[in-house]
Symmetry: C2
Subunit: 179 residues, 2 copies
Amino acid sequence: MSIKYAILGLLSYKPLTGYDLKKIIQDSTFMHWSGNNNQIYKALLELNNKGFVTNEVYHQDSSPSKKVYTITASGLDQLKKWSQLEPEPFEIKNMFLVQLAWGDLLSDSELEALLNQYEKAVKGQFFMEEAKAKRGFFKTGRTPRETAIWQLIHENLLMGYETELAWAKKAKAQLVIGK
Amino acid sequence: MSIKYAILGLLSYKPLTGYDLKKIIQDSTFMHWSGNNNQIYKALLELNNKGFVTNEVYHQDSSPSKKVYTITASGLDQLKKWSQLEPEPFEIKNMFLVQLAWGDLLSDSELEALLNQYEKAVKGQFFMEEAKAKRGFFKTGRTPRETAIWQLIHENLLMGYETELAWAKKAKAQLVIGK
DNA sequence: CAAACCATGTAAGCTGTTACATGATTTC
DNA sequence: GAAATCATGTAACAGCTTACATGGTTTG
């Protein structure tokens, strides 16, 4: 799945500039793209070529000119089609598991230190997510149902972090027997 | 983190060919790389250039010749250094959440169908993981501690799937009110 | 008799990342 | 006075994927 669909989705909410899209995508955890310039401006160009979006240039005195993108009827159509596609299986890219796989090379205390570091990192991710939800784009939807959906997405992430923390606790208990 | 470290880890267990490595990596869930030829044979070349592995060619009558790679002392050193690095934060790339984010475009029954499909996909991943653990490389380690580590990695994945299923159930209960 | 397995490798292409370029305005 | 914000875009590079190439052997 491409960033183009995420952009269409965001534009279905309201017209935005490339710069706006970049900030929203970079600030969200679940829209996993980095949201760098190259990705976004290229995607907008393609979406424009396909007629899924249009743009209007606004000249400003105190800032650079900006292009505000608006979704078209055919763009909305495309978005709805994509919404109904078979969901992709989710991927967890947890490099820590690969690192841990060869952790038998380490001493008990080194292994404990590693697990503690991991726990700390996940806690950090958890708190970051809570903070993001309070200020981010996905706080209030256009309908109660959309708000509920966005709340569920937020909870999905939090549950993931909590599960990870519970697992880390278990791992420490099992692996670091003698302290 | 690069596939090179994963390869070093596997070779620390026993000498293997590129083809062996490919199968192990493709068959494991947590070593997330696709394990395609280009990745593996290129990585082995680099590891060889840096002196972390050596190889010996075996000619066979009924199959093509093979290069068996063995880790060197300096390779083991490198592996241990990497084992102690600060763990990378884990990433969840769940495209379904992006898809769901614009699910308010769908009717109740379409949304329910989408969630059901997701549930089914995750269940499939869960059973696949259980099957893999029974036959895979990471079944029994060289020490009880290593076996415990590999068991914990397996449990980490299973817990992740279970959390996802619990969440999907909750999502259905909240979003699909009238059936 | 087709498909899959064994085994190594290369080529072309797509995606994504970091960094560069510009330049006024606002905040620390 | 340095750094961040606004705003668009390009260039170079790194990583990863799909497909190609070869060819004997085994399984269905």
